[in-house]
């Protein structure tokens, strides 16, 4: 039995750019299972928090530790960016790429990519260049690429930011299925409806600080801070 990479512990994590603090200090433990939704207004540090957790940013202060401290930690996480990164390859080769990095032979990697594409409902010509995909299909492709290694933790940065309702629903179905299969999901969104539908717990950020954390249903019924209440109600704040 391989030991899990969770829990993830953030201790006084701070991120600064050009002398300006854009995140933190944040102290937090991420464990268990389910979907954590990161909420907050623009510039509150949602993306920065996800990037710090995934190791894409060098911390200015504080520390971050996983349950394991080996190479497997990065390989067992995946990240879906707000704007999908389209590699100059076919759809199927984009999805299969992480397996190719792991040394899986091309034929086997492509077969697994094709199976996964079918499972998540990516009904496109898989040999076509990825640029022909629509916005929703691109995000599904990025999700498939992230899921192909069966990650233990999946980070998503506003994956439905520019998608229509139908594509959003499809992405949410895929995420719910991944959660049920045991993948721990941490996702930022501006969509309050989506947060209500998916959140097992909420991390609410404001001006780079984690000001509220708790179970999703309780957060939406009775937020503890005026900022969270205003955010849920869609109030315009100065």
């Amino acid at each position: 039995m391989v030991s899990p990479i969770l829990p993830l512990t953030l201790d006084g994590v701070e991120l600064r750019r050009a002398g300006r603090r854009i995140l933190g200090p944040i102290t937090l433990t991420l464990g268990g299972e389910g979907i954590s939704i990161v909420l907050g207004p623009n510039g509150s540090g949602k993306t920065s928090l996800l990037r710090c957790m995934h190791g894409l940013e060098r911390l200015s202060r504080g520390s971050l530790g996983w349950n394991r401290a080996d190479d497997q930690v990065r390989a067992r996480q995946a990240f879906v960016f707000q704007t999908p990164v389209l590699m100059r390859r076919s759809v199927i080769d984009n999805i299969a790429y992480p397996l190719r990095l792991d040394g899986v032979p091309a034929g086997r990697a492509r077969r697994r990519a094709a199976d996964l594409a079918e499972t998540i409902g990516l009904a496109v010509t898989l040999d076509a260049p990825v640029q022909v995909l629509s916005g929703g299909e691109r995000q599904k492709m990025a999700l498939a690429r992230a899921l192909i290694r069966a990650p233990e933790v999946l980070f998503l940065d506003e994956p439905c930011a520019s998608l229509d309702l139908a594509s959003t629903a499809e992405i949410e179905t895929i995420l719910a299925r991944a959660r049920d299969a045991g993948t721990r999901i941490v996702m930022s969104t501006h969509n309050i409806g989506q947060a209500r539908r998916l959140a097992d717990d909420i991390l609410f950020l404001d001006h780079g600080r984690l000001i509220e954390k708790g179970p999703g249903p309780a957060f939406f019924v009775g937020p503890l801070t005026p900022q969270a209440r205003a955010h849920i109600n869609g109030d315009l704040l100065p």
């Binding site: 894409l56 190479d71 990065r74 995946a78 990164v85 590699m87 992480p98």
Partner: protein, 234 residues
């Protein structure tokens, strides 16, 4: 104007009759320039990619130097290679002076900075797009470079073609280290210089037209082989 038409006519005549001398010097030009381009690509493409994806001290200086070396004066390169390969030079023992190998060496020095510089620019742009993904997927440094070189292959082909263009049209360096020896180191460009010096402008122009046709043919052939203009595929 008459010289131009005479040159064109003579070029056609040389081509149609498969003139033996023309075939020989065209073959040597192709061998030397393609050989130099292949060697320079083998050095320049990974070098450009490595500089694009790594941060190190003096990186900016290296990039500036690489860009500056794109304008290396061929005659000076030829002179330096001549001194190194001459009997009293450090590599004189190899006996390479006035051979096609010496011409290839000189052209590799001229062409490598061009290929490396264009490759660096191409890969740097792609690296900006791929950076977060490749870091996120835990790609090793070698895997990153292989991925970038493969996915940027169209742009890198342009780098190679730019290098070949410089090599096939180069005269100063190969004249100095090759010596323009008939049936040994005479290439199209050095033959043009010789015929011009002799006052045989029609022949010089004929060789010039062949040279231009050759450069265009190689470019078209490489584009067709790599499928650059097939927009539906990478």
């Amino acid at each position: 104007m008459n010289d131009l038409f005479d040159g064109l006519g003579q070029a056609l005549r040389l081509l149609v009759t498969l003139d033996a001398d023309l075939i020989e010097i065209t073959g040597l030009s192709l061998r030397v320039s393609l050989g130099a381009t292949v060697v320079a690509s083998a050095i320049g493409l990974p070098l450009g990619a490595w500089i694009a994806v790594n941060r190190f001290r003096l990186r900016r200086t290296v990039i500036a130097l690489l860009n500056a070396l794109m304008g290396l004066p061929p005659v000076v390169v030829g002179l330096v290679v001549y001194v190194i390969l001459s009997r009293s030079g450090p590599l004189g023992v190899l006996g390479l002076l006035f051979t096609p190998s010496a011409m290839v060496i000189a052209q590799v020095i001229i062409v490598t900075p061009i290929i490396a510089s264009i490759a660096h620019q191409t890969i740097r742009d792609l690296w900006a797009d791929y950076h977060d993904l490749l870091i996120s997927l835990h790609a090793t440094r070698r895997q990153r470079i292989v991925t970038l070189v493969w996915d940027a292959r169209r742009g890198l082909l342009t780098a190679g073609l730019a290098g070949f263009g410089r090599a096939i049209g180069e005269v100063g360096a190969i004249m100095v280290v090759g010596g323009n020896i008939e049936h040994a180191t005479r290439a199209l460009t050095t033959a043009i210089a010789l015929e011009t010096g002799k006052g045989d402008f029609a022949m010089a122009l004929a060789l010039g037209f062949v040279l231009i046709a050759l450069a265009i043919a190689v470019n078209l052939a490489l584009h067709m082989l790599s499928g650059t203009e097939r927009s539906s595929r990478w």
